[in-house]
Protein backbone atom coordinates (compact mmCIF):
# COMPACT_ATOMS: atom_id res chain seq x y z
CA UNK A 1 0.00 0.00 0.00
CA UNK A 2 1.66 3.21 -1.19
CA UNK A 3 0.39 6.48 0.27
CA UNK A 4 2.04 8.67 -2.36
CA UNK A 5 3.54 12.13 -1.91
CA UNK A 6 1.07 13.15 0.84
CA UNK A 7 1.70 10.14 3.10
CA UNK A 8 2.50 12.39 6.08
CA UNK A 9 -0.93 14.13 5.88
CA UNK A 10 -2.73 10.76 5.77
CA UNK A 11 -0.62 9.23 8.56
CA UNK A 12 -1.00 12.25 10.86
CA UNK A 13 -4.80 12.21 10.33
CA UNK A 14 -5.13 8.55 11.35
CA UNK A 15 -2.66 8.84 14.26
CA UNK A 16 -4.48 11.94 15.56
CA UNK A 17 -7.89 10.25 15.36
CA UNK A 18 -6.52 7.17 17.16
CA UNK A 19 -4.93 9.37 19.86
CA UNK A 20 -8.10 11.37 20.53
CA UNK A 21 -10.26 8.20 20.62
CA UNK A 22 -7.81 6.61 23.09
CA UNK A 23 -7.86 9.79 25.23
CA UNK A 24 -11.70 9.64 25.28
CA UNK A 25 -11.67 5.96 26.30
CA UNK A 26 -9.04 6.69 28.99
CA UNK A 27 -11.00 9.69 30.30
CA UNK A 28 -14.21 7.65 30.62
CA UNK A 29 -12.41 4.71 32.29
CA UNK A 30 -10.45 6.88 34.76
CA UNK A 31 -13.52 8.96 35.63
CA UNK A 32 -15.51 5.77 36.35
CA UNK A 33 -12.83 4.46 38.73
CA UNK A 34 -12.62 7.86 40.46
CA UNK A 35 -16.39 8.09 41.05
CA UNK A 36 -16.58 4.49 42.31
CA UNK A 37 -13.66 5.15 44.67
CA UNK A 38 -15.38 8.29 46.05
CA UNK A 39 -18.60 6.35 46.59
CA UNK A 40 -16.73 3.60 48.47
CA UNK A 41 -15.02 6.24 50.65
CA UNK A 42 -18.41 7.75 51.50
CA UNK A 43 -19.83 4.29 52.29
CA UNK A 44 -16.84 3.59 54.54
CA UNK A 45 -17.48 6.87 56.39
CA UNK A 46 -21.05 5.74 57.19
CA UNK A 47 -23.09 7.81 54.71
CA UNK A 48 -25.97 5.80 53.26
CA UNK A 49 -28.49 6.32 50.48
CA UNK A 50 -32.15 6.81 51.38
CA UNK A 51 -32.92 3.53 49.59
CA UNK A 52 -30.61 1.77 52.04
CA UNK A 53 -28.51 0.28 49.23
CA UNK A 54 -24.75 0.46 49.31
CA UNK A 55 -23.65 3.76 47.79
CA UNK A 56 -21.28 2.06 45.36
CA UNK A 57 -23.94 -0.45 44.28
CA UNK A 58 -24.57 0.10 40.58
CA UNK A 59 -25.45 -3.43 39.50
Amino acid sequence: MSLGPYASFITISYVLVAAVVLILIGWVAIDYRRQKARLRELEASGVTRRSGRGVADTR
Binding site: M1, S2, L3, G4, P5, Y6, A7, F9, I10, I12, S13, Y14, L16, V17, V20, V21, I23, L24, I25, W27, V28, A29, D31, Y32, Q35, K36, R38, L39, L42, S45, V47, R49, S51, R53, V55, T58, R59
Partner: protein, 246 residues
Amino acid sequence: MTLIDLANPTRFLKLTARILPWLAGLTAVLLLIGLYQAAMAPDDYQQGATVKIMFVHVPNAWLAMFVWGVMSLAALGTLVWRHPLADVAAKAAAPIGAAFTFLALVTGSLWGRPMWGTYWEWDARLTSVLILFLMYLGLIALWRAVEDPSRAARAAAILTLVGALNLPIIKFSVDWWNTLHQPASVMRMGGSSLDRAFLIPLLVMAVAFSLLFVTLHLAAMRNEILRRRVRSLQLMQVAQASQRSA
Protein backbone atom coordinates in the same frame (compact mmCIF):
# COMPACT_ATOMS: atom_id res chain seq x y z
CA MET B 1 -37.75 -2.42 29.45
CA THR B 2 -39.46 0.82 28.38
CA LEU B 3 -38.17 4.38 28.14
CA ILE B 4 -40.05 5.18 31.35
CA ASP B 5 -38.10 2.45 33.17
CA LEU B 6 -34.85 4.06 32.03
CA ALA B 7 -35.85 7.29 33.78
CA ASN B 8 -34.71 5.50 36.93
CA PRO B 9 -30.92 6.04 37.17
CA THR B 10 -30.38 2.75 39.03
CA ARG B 11 -32.14 0.79 36.27
CA PHE B 12 -30.12 2.74 33.71
CA LEU B 13 -26.88 1.80 35.49
CA LYS B 14 -27.90 -1.87 35.48
CA LEU B 15 -28.66 -1.74 31.76
CA THR B 16 -25.36 -0.04 30.88
CA ALA B 17 -23.39 -2.57 32.96
CA ARG B 18 -24.98 -5.33 30.86
CA ILE B 19 -24.67 -3.85 27.37
CA LEU B 20 -21.45 -1.79 27.50
CA PRO B 21 -19.04 -4.76 27.06
CA TRP B 22 -21.02 -5.98 24.01
CA LEU B 23 -21.18 -2.50 22.49
CA ALA B 24 -17.45 -1.95 23.03
CA GLY B 25 -16.65 -5.32 21.43
CA LEU B 26 -18.90 -4.66 18.42
CA THR B 27 -17.39 -1.17 17.99
CA ALA B 28 -13.84 -2.56 18.04
CA VAL B 29 -14.69 -5.26 15.45
CA LEU B 30 -16.41 -2.76 13.12
CA LEU B 31 -13.54 -0.27 13.47
CA LEU B 32 -11.03 -2.98 12.53
CA ILE B 33 -13.13 -3.98 9.48
CA GLY B 34 -13.53 -0.32 8.47
CA LEU B 35 -9.81 0.39 8.85
CA TYR B 36 -8.93 -2.69 6.79
CA GLN B 37 -11.38 -1.65 4.05
CA ALA B 38 -10.05 1.93 4.15
CA ALA B 39 -6.47 0.65 3.78
CA MET B 40 -7.48 -1.56 0.84
CA ALA B 41 -9.57 1.12 -0.94
CA PRO B 42 -8.12 2.21 -4.29
CA ASP B 43 -6.59 5.64 -4.84
CA ASP B 44 -8.90 8.30 -6.28
CA TYR B 45 -8.09 9.29 -9.87
CA GLN B 46 -7.80 12.96 -8.85
CA GLN B 47 -6.89 12.93 -5.16
CA GLY B 48 -4.65 9.85 -5.11
CA ALA B 49 -4.20 8.26 -1.67
CA THR B 50 -5.32 11.39 0.21
CA VAL B 51 -8.89 10.14 -0.32
CA LYS B 52 -8.15 7.82 2.65
CA ILE B 53 -8.48 10.86 4.95
CA MET B 54 -12.17 10.88 3.98
CA PHE B 55 -12.74 7.62 5.92
CA VAL B 56 -11.94 9.35 9.21
CA HIS B 57 -12.89 12.93 8.34
CA VAL B 58 -16.47 12.34 7.19
CA PRO B 59 -17.62 10.11 10.12
CA ASN B 60 -16.23 12.66 12.58
CA ALA B 61 -17.94 15.52 10.73
CA TRP B 62 -21.28 13.64 10.71
CA LEU B 63 -20.97 12.85 14.41
CA ALA B 64 -20.03 16.45 15.25
CA MET B 65 -23.53 17.42 14.06
CA PHE B 66 -25.32 14.27 15.20
CA VAL B 67 -24.09 14.65 18.79
CA TRP B 68 -25.41 18.22 18.92
CA GLY B 69 -28.70 16.82 17.60
CA VAL B 70 -28.75 14.28 20.44
CA MET B 71 -27.99 17.08 22.92
CA SER B 72 -30.85 19.15 21.45
CA LEU B 73 -33.30 16.27 22.02
CA ALA B 74 -31.94 15.94 25.56
CA ALA B 75 -32.39 19.71 26.01
CA LEU B 76 -36.07 19.29 25.09
CA GLY B 77 -36.19 16.44 27.61
CA THR B 78 -34.86 18.81 30.28
CA LEU B 79 -37.09 21.79 29.48
CA VAL B 80 -40.35 20.11 28.41
CA TRP B 81 -40.54 16.67 30.02
CA ARG B 82 -38.06 17.23 32.89
CA HIS B 83 -36.69 13.74 32.31
CA PRO B 84 -34.20 12.94 35.11
CA LEU B 85 -31.60 11.60 32.69
CA ALA B 86 -31.97 14.28 30.00
CA ASP B 87 -29.40 16.70 31.42
CA VAL B 88 -27.13 13.78 32.30
CA ALA B 89 -27.29 12.70 28.63
CA ALA B 90 -26.56 16.21 27.31
CA LYS B 91 -23.69 16.88 29.71
CA ALA B 92 -22.10 13.49 29.02
CA ALA B 93 -22.34 13.97 25.23
CA ALA B 94 -20.71 17.44 25.07
CA PRO B 95 -17.01 16.50 25.51
CA ILE B 96 -17.42 13.58 23.08
CA GLY B 97 -19.08 15.87 20.51
CA ALA B 98 -16.32 18.45 21.00
CA ALA B 99 -13.69 15.76 20.35
CA PHE B 100 -15.42 14.63 17.13
CA THR B 101 -15.74 18.25 15.96
CA PHE B 102 -12.06 18.89 16.72
CA LEU B 103 -11.12 15.80 14.70
CA ALA B 104 -13.38 16.86 11.80
CA LEU B 105 -11.71 20.29 11.73
CA VAL B 106 -8.13 19.00 11.95
CA THR B 107 -8.49 16.07 9.54
CA GLY B 108 -10.35 18.38 7.13
CA SER B 109 -7.48 20.82 7.39
CA LEU B 110 -4.93 18.05 6.76
CA TRP B 111 -6.98 16.92 3.74
CA GLY B 112 -7.40 20.50 2.51
CA ARG B 113 -3.68 21.38 2.43
CA PRO B 114 -2.72 18.94 -0.36
CA MET B 115 -6.07 19.27 -2.22
CA TRP B 116 -6.86 23.00 -1.91
CA GLY B 117 -3.37 24.33 -1.24
CA THR B 118 -4.40 25.72 2.16
CA TYR B 119 -5.05 24.41 5.67
CA TRP B 120 -7.83 26.89 6.31
CA GLU B 121 -10.27 29.10 4.46
CA TRP B 122 -12.93 31.26 6.09
CA ASP B 123 -15.67 29.74 3.95
CA ALA B 124 -19.19 29.03 5.22
CA ARG B 125 -18.74 25.28 5.91
CA LEU B 126 -15.43 25.54 7.75
CA THR B 127 -16.47 28.62 9.72
CA SER B 128 -19.85 27.16 10.78
CA VAL B 129 -18.14 23.95 12.00
CA LEU B 130 -15.60 26.05 13.93
CA ILE B 131 -18.55 27.88 15.54
CA LEU B 132 -20.03 24.46 16.46
CA PHE B 133 -16.72 23.55 18.14
CA LEU B 134 -16.69 26.84 20.09
CA MET B 135 -20.31 26.22 21.16
CA TYR B 136 -19.34 22.79 22.51
CA LEU B 137 -16.53 24.41 24.53
CA GLY B 138 -18.93 27.11 25.77
CA LEU B 139 -21.44 24.51 26.98
CA ILE B 140 -18.74 22.50 28.76
CA ALA B 141 -17.56 25.73 30.44
CA LEU B 142 -21.14 26.53 31.49
CA TRP B 143 -21.63 23.13 33.17
CA ARG B 144 -18.30 23.53 34.96
CA ALA B 145 -19.03 27.10 36.06
CA VAL B 146 -22.38 26.34 37.76
CA GLU B 147 -21.97 23.99 40.71
CA ASP B 148 -25.63 23.00 41.13
CA PRO B 149 -26.47 20.57 38.27
CA SER B 150 -30.20 21.46 38.21
CA ARG B 151 -29.45 25.18 37.81
CA ALA B 152 -26.90 24.53 35.07
CA ALA B 153 -29.30 22.17 33.28
CA ARG B 154 -31.85 24.82 32.22
CA ALA B 155 -29.25 27.33 31.02
CA ALA B 156 -27.37 24.62 29.11
CA ALA B 157 -30.61 23.32 27.54
CA ILE B 158 -31.57 26.79 26.26
CA LEU B 159 -28.05 27.38 24.89
CA THR B 160 -28.12 23.95 23.21
CA LEU B 161 -31.45 24.66 21.47
CA VAL B 162 -30.21 28.07 20.28
CA GLY B 163 -27.04 26.40 19.01
CA ALA B 164 -29.11 23.83 17.09
CA LEU B 165 -29.88 26.63 14.59
CA ASN B 166 -26.29 26.19 13.40
CA LEU B 167 -26.93 22.57 12.27
CA PRO B 168 -28.92 23.39 9.08
CA ILE B 169 -26.44 26.20 8.38
CA ILE B 170 -23.58 23.66 8.47
CA LYS B 171 -25.49 21.12 6.36
CA PHE B 172 -26.65 23.53 3.65
CA SER B 173 -23.73 26.00 3.75
CA VAL B 174 -22.21 24.31 0.69
CA ASP B 175 -25.47 24.87 -1.23
CA TRP B 176 -26.35 28.36 0.02
CA TRP B 177 -22.89 29.92 -0.44
CA ASN B 178 -19.98 29.53 -2.80
CA THR B 179 -17.57 27.50 -0.67
CA LEU B 180 -14.16 25.93 -1.13
CA HIS B 181 -15.57 22.84 0.60
CA GLN B 182 -17.17 20.41 -1.85
CA PRO B 183 -20.98 19.91 -1.90
CA ALA B 184 -22.60 16.84 -0.28
CA SER B 185 -21.65 13.62 -2.06
CA VAL B 186 -23.25 10.94 0.15
CA MET B 187 -26.47 12.33 1.68
CA ARG B 188 -27.94 14.20 -1.28
CA MET B 189 -30.94 14.14 -3.57
CA GLY B 190 -30.49 11.51 -6.28
CA GLY B 191 -28.27 9.25 -4.14
CA SER B 192 -24.58 9.10 -3.42
CA SER B 193 -22.11 10.19 -6.09
CA LEU B 194 -19.35 8.11 -4.48
CA ASP B 195 -18.14 4.91 -6.12
CA ARG B 196 -18.92 1.72 -4.13
CA ALA B 197 -15.18 1.19 -3.61
CA PHE B 198 -15.20 4.31 -1.39
CA LEU B 199 -18.81 4.32 -0.23
CA ILE B 200 -18.77 0.91 1.51
CA PRO B 201 -15.65 1.55 3.66
CA LEU B 202 -17.01 5.01 4.45
CA LEU B 203 -20.37 3.63 5.62
CA VAL B 204 -18.65 0.91 7.71
CA MET B 205 -16.46 3.56 9.35
CA ALA B 206 -19.51 5.80 9.89
CA VAL B 207 -21.41 2.97 11.64
CA ALA B 208 -18.28 2.08 13.68
CA PHE B 209 -17.80 5.69 14.84
CA SER B 210 -21.54 5.97 15.62
CA LEU B 211 -21.28 2.84 17.80
CA LEU B 212 -18.14 4.32 19.39
CA PHE B 213 -20.20 7.40 20.27
CA VAL B 214 -23.03 5.30 21.75
CA THR B 215 -20.53 3.29 23.82
CA LEU B 216 -18.65 6.34 25.10
CA HIS B 217 -21.88 8.23 25.71
CA LEU B 218 -23.47 5.47 27.81
CA ALA B 219 -20.22 5.11 29.80
CA ALA B 220 -19.99 8.89 30.32
CA MET B 221 -23.68 9.02 31.39
CA ARG B 222 -23.00 6.25 33.93
CA ASN B 223 -20.07 8.32 35.27
CA GLU B 224 -22.22 11.46 35.47
CA ILE B 225 -24.94 9.61 37.44
CA LEU B 226 -22.27 8.37 39.86
CA ARG B 227 -20.81 11.92 40.13
CA ARG B 228 -24.25 13.29 41.06
CA ARG B 229 -24.71 10.48 43.57
CA VAL B 230 -21.33 11.41 45.11
CA ARG B 231 -22.39 15.06 45.27
CA SER B 232 -25.71 14.35 46.99
CA LEU B 233 -24.03 12.01 49.49
CA GLN B 234 -21.39 14.63 50.25
CA LEU B 235 -24.19 17.14 50.91
CA MET B 236 -25.89 14.60 53.21
CA GLN B 237 -22.58 14.05 54.99
CA VAL B 238 -22.20 17.80 55.60
CA ALA B 239 -25.84 18.04 56.81
CA GLN B 240 -25.36 15.09 59.20
CA ALA B 241 -22.14 16.61 60.56
CA SER B 242 -23.81 19.99 61.20
CA GLN B 243 -26.80 18.26 62.94
CA ARG B 244 -24.40 16.40 65.25
CA SER B 245 -22.52 19.57 66.14
CA ALA B 246 -25.77 21.55 66.76
